[in-house]
């Protein structure tokens, strides 16, 4: 079954800045893969429960005790930009 993809919207949601050629290329590749994957849509699975995870576990409880943490400077040393003890990023909002 043909699959219709708004690839520009998907790329925006995924935060990957693609140009028009790249969007067209990825869009047609995804259509081929999704047409193969869409075969499972024809299966009657109304009575089947979904499985999200192979282990029948709900939660992993532990005592709430302080543990060791990573060294802050060692962590921040890996950041592309920092200001004191903070990660530094460009503005979230555009100037009006």
């Amino acid at each position: 079954m043909p699959v219709d993809i708004d690839i520009a919207k998907v790329a925006r949601l995924a935060r990957i800045g693609l140009d028009d050629d790249e969007l067209a290329r990825y869009g047609s590749q995804l259509e081929v893969i999704l047409e193969h994957a869409a075969r499972i849509q024809a299966l009657d699975l109304d009575a089947v429960r979904p499985t999200a995870h192979p282990l029948p576990m709900v939660n992993a409880f532990r005592e709430d005790e302080p543990g060791t943490t990573l060294d802050r400077d060692e962590v921040l040393a890996q950041a592309p930009d920092r200001e004191g003890p903070f990660f530094r990023v460009p503005p979230f909002l555009e100037e009006a």
């Binding site: 990957i16 693609l18 990825y26 994957a37 699975l45 192979p54 992993a60 592309p80 990023v89």
Partner: protein, 492 residues
Amino acid sequence: MTDPADLTIAGAAAALRAGSLTAAGLLEAVRRRAAMTEAHLHAYLTLDAAGAERAAAAADDAFRRGEDLGPLQGIPIALKDNMVTRGVETTAASRILAGYLPPYDATVVARLRAAGAVITGKTNLDEFAMGSSTENSAYGPTRNPWDPERVPGGSSGGAAAAVAAGSALGALGSDTGGSIRQPASLCGVVGMKPTYGLVSRFGLIAFASSLDQIGPLARTVDDAVVLFEAIAGHDPRDATSYRGAVPDVRPSLDDGVDGLRVGVIRELSGDGIDPEVLAGFRAAVERLAGAGAEVVDLSLPSMDHALSAYYLIAPAECSANLARFDGVRYGPRLEGDTVERMMAATRRDGFGPEVARRILLGTYALSAGYYDAFYGQAQKVRTLVIEDFRRAYEQADVLVTPTSPTTAFHLGERTGDPLTMYLSDICTIPTNLAGDPGISLPIGLDGGGLPIGLQVLAPALGEAVMFRVARAVEALGGFEARPALATSEGAA
């Protein structure tokens, strides 16, 4: 005398204790081998010469003091470069992590160090473990030691090539849809994926968290057991870590297959499998029958849909996991006047085409309006796969299949067609969906001299019977061939 680089882990461990070999001498032999083979193979992204020397010296010191940390003390082991190593560059073969020096060790790395292992370095992979040929590495492909014109498989291709070539005695890889077993098959070594949850994922750079599992690559089943025993066990830092006891696999390892029921999956041992691979597989099954196994023919209809389900579930999980690579906390950053434009530019530049493709695919499959039709339906197929395996294990103690539908293919042969590349994993993917263990081991060579692999599957926590059957296949098969590039003559 055997070059120490060609010893098994068990053989080297014996020589270290007999005093005929030192950890420093063993490391030197492995480095000599790497110096000969790396120009052809590119199995490693990073060789940690200084760290390995320190670890080998520490292992020798401990031996001199009479301390015995067990069978990995002084043994050179390679790590797939998606396991973090404190202070040693870890990139997952992606540009988006170029230069990253992790501030901590993965749990498996800490366990290997505590066992006295000598970590040689970080091996190449398909970027973020997404691929079946190691051609998706941002730092160039790894080649197959049996034929450098061919791929080593993937995504743990560097690890498999290093073990086959002798630039490590064993390695750790990760397996999300076959990424340990398929390269092991294509490189003629043993590769094992443990039951989901038995080995901690803490410090494994996540691809698809409900499928990822770390496991060993080695030259013999026995060596794979040694590595499995070193890394398995509960870890409070992995919320999905199994809390029960690790299966005790040693006592029954050499019990053979007499009286065991070995199931052959019809859907994975016919159409779509190369005739020579199939012939090798059938011959191995006949050897098992000759040794007393009862061979059972089984149909698991859901196998035909497992690949489709996997290529929705794995990209969906990957699209969420890889959201963390955004140019804020680590890795390179491209400029942008807003944080969103900075992230979009950084991610466009940092991710290779296969990773971008899967992020886009997963984002689509999870997006409003498509979730039920794609991701939801795939989760239901996952249930069918689990139920099929459960029924199969009522009739058989283990299941066997060819590991890979073909032997090693040429570089470039499948890169233009993602779907054909995905079919490389058709035999290995169902096990990951079920969370069960599986092991691949070499059973012979095809007409072109390339290794053929057989896979033994078992129910969750069934490692004992899985290793036992693998050990029997190995003993009955007598596969001892080594690639020409693993010998000094071949590499000269």
